[in-house]
């Protein structure tokens, strides 16, 4: 990521410059490079496209092998800290394209009404904007399987895509706050659930952990299966379902720090 034209001279510490600004500038630059090279939601690729990433890594190669027995394709997402929420939203809405009955049920849920959002305790005024954009995207699903391209385009338009992410973050935050007593047990340090929501859930670009996944999947009542691909000993790629025992609608691949979408072989 480093700029090879930069000389040592430019990297010298200059006490006159604002170091905070320099650090932020560098962050922006890295983010810009990522956003220019990776789409928010990518095209569906054969699962074998993962193999090429690990040609000289036996552990991972074995795991890709295991994965390819269960899944036929993968869709990559941009690693910008929002990948879980974006992957979840796209994968779920995409699955509803072929399942209009489930879609009708989903649209009836409280999270799809603005009342539900206000009940989460957010100011109506700032919430409305996100809710309306979220619903605009959700409504596209009503056009059935032919709307897949449109959904894909909307998810690659940051004006829509990021607003969907914000709205899901608010739903997750609302769920955490509603069941604060339960979720408090999973928060490290002495932060309150509310502080955690303000610092780790509601702001954009903050990465997701188990707790975000449990909160969102329980709030929407949508089952998520996450396949964890790491350096662990097992030759199998371990799966966790959230909430436990639910009917799985969304399959995600987790590699340390990042979520992509998986498509099972059977469906």
């Amino acid at each position: 990521m480093s700029d090879s034209t930069e000389t040592d001279e430019n990297n010298k510490y200059n006490p006159g410059e604002n170091q905070d600004d320099l650090i932020l500038q560098q962050h922006r630059k890295i983010e810009k490079e990522i956003s220019e090279s990776i789409a928010l939601i990518g095209n569906k690729e054969a699962l074998s496209s993962l193999e090429s990433e690990y040609s000289d890594d036996d552990i991972y190669r074995q795991k890709v092998q295991d994965l390819s027995n269960k899944y036929k394709s993968v869709r990559r997402t941009r690693p910008d800290g929002n990948c879980f929420f974006r992957a979840f939203a796209f994968a779920y809405l995409e699955s509803l394209l072929d399942n209009q009955q489930e879609f009708a049920k989903f649209k009836d849920t409280k999270n799809c009404s603005i009342r539900g959002g206000v009940n989460l305790g957010f100011p109506q005024f700032t919430l409305e904007d996100f809710h309306d954009t979220f619903m605009e995207v959700v409504n596209v699903v009503g056009n059935g399987p032919s709307a897949c391209d449109e959904l894909y385009k909307l998810f690659n338009n940051s004006g829509y895509s990021d607003y969907v992410v914000v709205y899901l973050r608010l739903i997750a935050s609302g769920q955490l706050q509603k069941e604060a007593e339960f979720y408090q047990n999973f928060i490290e340090g002495c932060r309150s659930v509310l502080d955690f929501c303000h610092q780790e859930v509601e702001p954009m670009f903050k990465e997701s952990d188990h707790i975000h996944i449990i909160a969102l999947s329980s709030a929407l009542n949508v089952g998520v299966r996450v396949r964890y691909m790491d350096r662990g000993d097992s030759s199998e790629v371990i799966a966790h379902d959230f909430p436990e025992g639910s009917k799985v609608a969304v399959h995600l691949l987790y590699r340390p720090g990042h979520y992509d979408i998986l498509y099972p072989s059977t469906s």
Binding site: G159, L170, K206
Partner: protein, 167 residues
């Protein structure tokens, strides 16, 4: 992207015009450009900034409200949390993680549900209660701690200046 930012800024402007918080006026400098605002902030009662009317500029990024605006006073200011060039340094203007300043972990941060109004109210409380731990202006932070009388004198001079009264 900028379309949703514009829609949101117009809505916030309308909201602030219909229900202005006490002692705060804010809006676009020019209605042709909603991404640059001017705000007038009244110094809070019972503080050394009482009676002053402080002008500031707010610059919004194209992806507002995903990212926060920047705020800068355009009058002379002397305050621990304001850089000497007028830039305001408080936690709500930063997303978590975006703060090499090291704010307290419980401090309020930027998120898309925050608003211009919330920022301006935070700035009013910052004027009333400086945070001398985060020193955007180290001299001001030191004087606030060690020589409150002199700090108050400087603040009063700035107040008179903003009102156009000879100092």
């Amino acid at each position: 992207m900028a379309g949703s930012a514009l829609r949101r800024l117009m809505a916030e402007y309308k909201q602030l015009t219909l229900n202005p918080p006490d002692g705060i006026i804010a809006g676009p400098i020019n209605e042709e450009n909603f991404f640059e605002w001017e705000a007038l902030i009244t110094g809070p009662d019972g503080t050394c900034f009482e009676g002053g009317v402080f002008p500031a500029k707010l610059i919004f990024p194209p992806d507002y409200p995903l990212s926060p605006p920047k705020m800068q006073f355009t009058c002379e200011m002397f305050h621990p949390n304001i850089y000497s060039d007028g830039r305001v340094c408080i936690s709500i203007l930063h997303a978590p993680g975006d703060d090499p300043m090291g704010y307290e972990s419980s401090a309020e941060r930027w998120s898309p549900v925050q608003s211009v109004e919330k920022i301006l109210l935070s700035v009013v409380s910052m004027l009333a209660e400086p945070n001398d731990e985060s020193g955007a202006n180290v001299d001001a932070a030191k004087m606030w701690r060690e020589d409150r009388e002199e700090f108050n004198r400087i603040a009063q001079r700035i107040v008179r200046k903003t009102l156009g009264i000879p100092t």
